[in-house]
């Protein structure tokens, strides 16, 4: 168990990490939305980006145009940063002091070269599952609240992957539960591969003269 002072140090570190992951994911999502818009604009053609422009339902002001691309960059940053906060916060809260034990240390580790992070499949599953389920709940119920649920044919296509999902409150609950399960399994796969590769590389580094 950590005492009060140690708990405060850990919580402060978690806060800093949350900001870092928020900035990283914000930049990534902003860049993805900007470049997706830019690719469509550069390719040109009639009715350019008819499907991507549907994002304006969730990101007011966004459109498939050059000015829309910059608005998309901002929205992408906000969306990515919020996602990063929910993901890391729920991951760190699930593990808390166990966060300090999932590590690979090596002789190279020093104050400026910290040990390497390992993933907890369950912690990541809960974090990613919560994030994706929340996103589906919020987006679906936003469509319901604005009264366009019956016209949301594209959103309804999710039922191809999430049986029982519909653009309705009850459908969003079913979809969110299924998405949580899918994200949980995917997180275990990701954690398993990452931890295996990390251990292999660390063992190889240890064996190197």
């Amino acid at each position: 168990m950590l005492d009060d002072a140690e708990g405060k140090v850990l919580n402060a570190a978690i806060r800093v990490n949350t900001i870092i992951i928020a900035v990283a994911m914000g930049l990534l999502c902003g860049a993805i939305l900007w470049s997706s818009t830019a690719i469509l604009l550069l390719r040109g053609g009639p009715d350019v980006g008819a499907h991507l422009s549907l994002l304006s339902v969730f990101f007011p002001g966004y459109s498939v145009s050059w000015s829309g691309a910059w608005i998309g960059l901002l929205w992408g940053f906000v969306y990515g940063a919020l996602s990063g906060i929910v993901l890391y916060w729920s991951y760190a809260r699930t593990l808390h002091e166990r966060l300090c034990e999932l590590l690979v240390d090596s002789p190279a580790a020093s104050t400026l070269t910290p040990p390497i992070f390992l993933f907890s499949g369950n912690g990541l599953g809960i974090g990613l599952g919560t994030l994706m389920a929340l996103q589906l709940l919020l987006t679906t119920n936003w469509l319901v609240a604005r009264g366009t649920a019956s016209e949301s044919n594209n959103a309804a296509l999710l039922s191809q992957y999430l049986p029982g999902y519909t653009v309705s409150f009850s459908g969003s609950i079913v979809g969110a539960l299924e998405l949580f399960a899918v994200a949980f399994v995917a997180s275990h796969v990701l954690a398993g591969i990452y931890n295996t590769v990390t251990r292999l590389r660390a063992t190889r580094d240890m064996a190197a003269p």
Binding site: M1, L2, A5, E6, V9, L10, A13, I14, V16, N17, I20, I21, V23, A24, M25, L27, L28, S36, I39, L40, R43, H51, L99, C100, E101, L102, L103, V104, D105, S106, P107, A109, T111, L112, T113, P114, P115, I116, F117, L118, N154, L157, Q160, Y161, A186, V189, L190, A191, I193, Y194, N195, V197, T198, R199, R201, A202, T203, M206
Partner: protein, 141 residues
């Protein structure tokens, strides 16, 4: 938390190097251990490979689900997913297309994983350098 002096505590996940700091009863050392472990870095290559594999699997599975479900004759399978061809040349909703998707999914996941790990590691490094510099000059870490 504190192990017997004769048997050093090791990481429960991998036993590569004993956690010397954790064996100490000094509060300063324990604080440093918490800071160092909370600021652990990502293995850039491992995160790239792991996210690449998951990305490849996701895109392949998304295509395969549509292909297995099929569509009525005369109706295109997965016209919406096929729009990814705008960004991923050569991709389409077919079995050969799913293999192309496997490749693109890996490439995208690899890129995202490496980017996230790079930003994380660089930000932590800058933060730690600042903290160490502050401690060196002002002793206030």
């Amino acid at each position: 938390m504190n192990a017997p002096a004769s048997r050093p505590v090791q990481s429960p996940e991998v036993a590569l190097e004993p956690y010397k700091v954790r064996n100490s009863k000094s509060m300063g050392d324990r604080g440093e251990w918490i800071v160092r472990s909370a600021f652990a870095r990502f293995d850039l290559v491992a995160l790239g490979i792991a996210m690449g594999c998951v990305g490849a699997l996701c895109l392949w599975a998304a295509t395969a689900v549509l292909l297995v479900k099929e569509a009525p004759s005369g109706v295109a399978v997965g016209p919406h997913l096929a729009l990814l061809a705008n960004f991923l040349p050569g991709y389409n909703v077919s079995w050969p297309g799913s293999i192309v998707g496997l490749f693109y999914g890996f490439l995208l996941g690899l890129g995202f994983g490496v980017l996230i790990a790079m930003v994380w590691n660089i930000a932590h490094h800058i933060y730690l350098v600042q903290a160490v510099t502050r401690r060196y000059f002002a002793g206030d870490l």
